[in-house]
């Protein structure tokens, strides 16, 4: 590692330890690091948006006299009237335009991908293979889980049994989610531990060399 890399990695190692210090209790070092990350992220995002979007969608289009872009630019500017008590009503136009377009574009596609495709994938033909038995279990589990959310009838008797199977189905789903979440969180810890290990080895080699 070069001297510059050692210095940057030292800073990263110190900040990593500052974040880990929260595990003992909340403290100023953790707070400083948290705010530093939020500040750097906000600054980076703002500049990225400016250089890769505002520049070519506003400045360059106006320089090239692409006049059609005046409409979205005016709509964008109208959003800023939210800060004025007298003119905030103007901001409703770009919001209405945006919501209208989004709704029109998304509702048919969402219905197709999230409802129809999912229902048809649930109701597949049964047979006596492992996959077929799995499909039967999926259908029973989905129906029972749906019954659990039917609150117009008391969950007793046969209905109670079906509802209970629904709860177990949901619990299996939550359990799978929890297990994967643990794996994800541990991965973050492990990556930092591997970084610290590599850093200390590099630091030792730097000073020994």
């Amino acid at each position: 590692m070069t001297t510059a890399e050692i210095l940057w990695n030292t800073l990263a190692a110190i900040l990593t330890l500052c974040v880990f210090s929260f595990l003992i209790k909340d403290n100023p070092l953790y707070k400083f690091t948290e705010r530093l990350v939020a500040g750097v992220a906000a600054g980076y995002w703002t500049m990225l948006i400016y250089h890769t979007n505002f520049t070519d969608k506003v400045i360059l289009t106006m320089q090239n006299r692409q006049l059609a872009y005046i409409i979205p630019i005016l709509l964008g500017l109208a959003m800023w009237t939210r800060f004025s008590k007298n003119y905030s009503w103007i901001s409703r136009y770009p919001i209405a335009f945006y919501i209208g377009i989004s709704t029109g574009v998304s509702i048919p596609v969402y219905m197709y991908t999230s409802v129809f495709k999912q229902i048809s994938a649930t109701m597949v033909p049964f047979d006596l293979t492992y996959a077929g038995i799995n499909n039967i279990i999926v259908v029973i589990a989905v129906l029972c889980a749906l019954f659990y959310f039917f609150f117009s009838k008391e969950h007793t008797g046969t209905f109670g049994v079906i509802s209970k199977i629904g709860i177990y189905t949901l619990m299996i789903g939550f359990g799978a989610g929890f297990g994967m979440t643990v794996m994800g969180r541990v991965a973050l810890l492990v990556q930092r531990v591997i970084f610290l290990k590599d850093y200390f080895i590099a630091l030792k080699n730097y000073f020994v060399a």
Binding site: S120, A121, G177, M180, V182, G184
Partner: protein, 280 residues
């Protein structure tokens, strides 16, 4: 006397300070650092499908790689991006890289710089880095029609029409498929607007937290492959042979999961023992 001691023990377990759990995990995580060992990784069909998708393409074929994660998900998703890009460049595939998450740009740029140097690949000739645009739904819909509508210039400010790599393709229908590595709801946009609207093949690389929510799309055929968290990354590394931290993380994961399982089992036993006493 023994019974009372046992009850006291389970009471202590139920009221254990969470910092003991942190300390246990810290100790367990240090073990593979001091005593390195390997754990075999079994590959799953959903990861094999992504691997086969890249592996079966021929030199010069195009695919779109979405890099849509930020530094907070780097630990899980960066090994996937590294292995897939390595795999693609080693096979001389043409890669169109885009970001629908603002922080993905820095992640993509770092990996592209490193791997393009390793394989002597040139921006604009062997790959195209489109950069970032906000509003994923609109960006995917327009890329389905023409890349140039949303990205008249690539990330480095060069017009797309002037790039040799973009001469052969107009829109996402001209690529063999999309592999999106994401830590957010960009995955939903690819399923809805990419596969749903245009029907091109989509595979996802997602964080462990997200993965349980996306298996349903695998079953319905809306995505053809799924790489889940660090385990999925390790599987891809195992299949492709391009390693970073995915496979290296598995020994740590194994030990940490074991200690967490012990805590879960102990707390459940403690719950039933102390509940029985409270009832009496």
């Amino acid at each position: 006397m023994i019974k009372e001691n046992a009850v006291d023990f389970w009471d202590k377990v139920m009221n254990l300070d969470r910092r003991w759990v942190y300390l246990s995990i810290a100790i367990v995580v240090i073990i593979p650092t001091v005593i390195p060992f390997q754990v075999p990784v079994a590959t799953t069909p959903e990861v094999k499908k992504v691997f086969n998708f890249i592996n079966r393409m021929e030199a010069g074929d195009y695919f779109y790689l979405g890099i849509d994660y930020d530094p907070s998900a780097l630990a899980e998703l960066d090994p996937m991006a590294y292995a897939i890009l390595n795999h693609a460049f080693s096979k001389d595939l043409k890669v169109v890289v885009g970001c629908l998450s603002q922080f993905g740009v820095a992640m993509a740029e770092t990996r592209l710089a490193e791997l393009s140097e390793k394989y002597d690949k040139k921006s604009g000739i062997d790959y195209c880095f489109l950069g970032y645009r906000p509003y994923p739904a609109i960006v995917i819909l327009t890329m389905g029609v023409d890349f140039r509508v949303t990205f008249p210039l690539d990330y480095y400010g060069v017009p797309l029409d002037s790039l040799p790599v973009m001469q052969g393709i107009k829109n996402l229908m001209n690529v063999k498929g999309v592999v999106d590595i994401t830590a957010g709801n960009v995955a939903d946009f690819w399923i809805t607007y990419g596969n749903g609207r245009f029907g091109f093949p989509v595979a996802l690389g997602v964080t462990g937290v997200m993965s349980a929510d996306y298996y349903q799309y695998l079953q319905s055929g809306q995505i053809f492959g799924l790489i889940s968290g660090i385990k999925g990354a390790a599987e891809y590394e195992e299949l492709s042979g391009f390693e970073t931290t995915g496979l290296a993380s598995i020994p740590y994961q194994t030990l940490t999961h074991a200690i967490i399982l012990i805590f879960i089992v102990m707390s459940n036993i403690g719950y039933f023992v102390t509940r029985g006493r409270k009832k009496r």
